[in-house]
């Protein structure tokens, strides 16, 4: 791992279950601060479960539980006195399909996280945060003249950037993205990828993707998962030119496993 950066998130012997199904086996890895880490692997390998454990979203599903440690700046987010809502504030998430609140206006969508968190802010502050978040999500120029239009009036790619803006509005430190581009066309995908490179100046990003070229293009670190196990984790360049594990090799070159 690069020596010039500290680890923002450290995962220690993480196990996750859906009722009796053991979905993650003793996963340990570290996500360096202000870097993009990609998680790749075939369907059902546990990559989405892993990211959902990183901000305690996994346990929201009935019958799902996790044990092990996830250290955020040295503090375990699974500690006894930790409020999951506060964890999710610091570790935001963007999902596979754009999920704007369809009837809410664009600006209300962005501000939704602020008010849902119960914080009371005045109009000026709110407008400022909306603008800042939309700029960070590279959407401001496209929507600044129609902030009161419904979120659903935007294109798929714009809706996804709106969701990024909504996640950024609460000033998270880590941004988790679960296949953020799988429902988008190549141009919208390219914009999201470009956005990732800009966002990593301020945020630590973990992205789950089915698209290996996407992982190769925009991540610094890549983790390969298979049947709930972390098979290999290393610098993206190394994983894609010379992986050490046979399973990784077979997967990224598209061979039968």
């Amino acid at each position: 791992m690069a020596a010039d950066t500290t680890n923002k998130l450290i995962v220690n012997k993480l196990n996750a279950y859906f009722n009796k199904h053991h979905a993650l086996h003793d996963v340990s890895l570290s996500f360096p601060d202000k870097r993009v880490a990609a998680i790749i692997g075939p369907s059902g390998c546990g990559k989405s479960t892993l990211v959902r454990c990183l901000n305690r979203m996994h346990e929201v599903v009935p019958g799902a539980r996790a044990d092990g440690e996830v250290m955020l700046d040295g503090d375990n987010i699974y500690g006894d006195d930790v409020d999951p809502v506060q964890v999710r504030r610091r570790i935001g998430m963007v999902f596979q399909k754009p999920t704007p609140f369809p009837t809410m206006s664009i600006e209300d969508n962005v501000a939704a996280g602020l008010t849902l968190n119960g914080a009371s802010i005045n109009r000026a502050e709110r407008d400022q945060i909306v603008e800042r978040s939309l700029r960070q999500a590279a959407l401001w120029e496209e929507v600044k003249d129609r902030l009161r239009r419904p979120g659903a009036s935007l294109s798929g790619g714009q809706q996804q950037r709106l969701c990024v803006a909504r996640a950024l509005a609460v000033k998270p430190e880590v941004l988790l993205m679960d296949e953020p581009c799988s429902a988008l066309d190549p141009i919208s995908t390219a914009r999201i990828e470009e956005l990732l490179l800009e966002l990593k100046a301020e945020f630590t990003i973990v992205i789950v993707t089915h698209n290996m070229q996407q992982a190769a293009r925009c991540s610094d670190m890549t983790a390969f998962m298979y049947t709930g196990n972390l098979i290999e984790y290393g610098e993206t360049k190394q994983i894609f030119t010379n992986p050490t594990r046979r399973e990784t090799e077979d997967y990224i070159t598209g061979r039968f496993g």
Binding site: Q213, F240, T241, N242, E249, I252, T253, G254, R255
Partner: protein, 237 residues
Amino acid sequence: MDHTQQPQHTNRQYEEDLRGLRAGLLKMGGLVERQIAETIEALVNRDSDHAREIIKRDQEVNRLDIENDEQCIRLLALHQPTASDLRFITTGLKITTDLERIGDNAVNICERALELNEVPQLKPYIDLPRMAEIAQSMVKDSIDAFMRDDTDLADQVIERDDEVDMLNYQVYRELLSYMAEDPHTISSATRLLFVSKYLERIADHATNIAEMVVYMVKGKMIKHVETRRREEREASS
């Protein structure tokens, strides 16, 4: 990783395209090897007709060069190769260039042979056929190493390059003494000097191929190790 033990690609067209490239490189390697062997025959036997035949056959080498290049580009464009596939294809791209240059060097030797055959033979050729034999075996082994992912064989090819360099120097000194003794020999001696140099270049190209094989199999660049070590020393001091 040894390709012979690897499972096949899910994408059959991809698998087929990779095999096509492997076959194309094998064919080109075989042809180039034959060109060198026949070239030295034509030189030693002073057979001008044979030399002209070899020169003509270089068109086939060039055609295979273009075919292999296009196959590599096609694979890169259509399949976004990674890991061992990526290393195989980039190695193929470089090997085909080295093979094409080896073919050109064989042509150059034939051209000098045609000129040499116009005048009486300066001396019996002893070191040149030895050089040619080593260079030819280096080309053959480098291609075999490529086909079999055999880094031990590649290492042997790289080591043998020193022998060819030594013989080249020996030929140079010998021809120099001929020329110093009798200026009338200069015309033939310089041509033989060129032949020696071409053979030395052929061995260098075989060495390049062997170095790429090591990269392809291990993912490690071993080219220009000395240059890189020196740079690292300078950077750390």
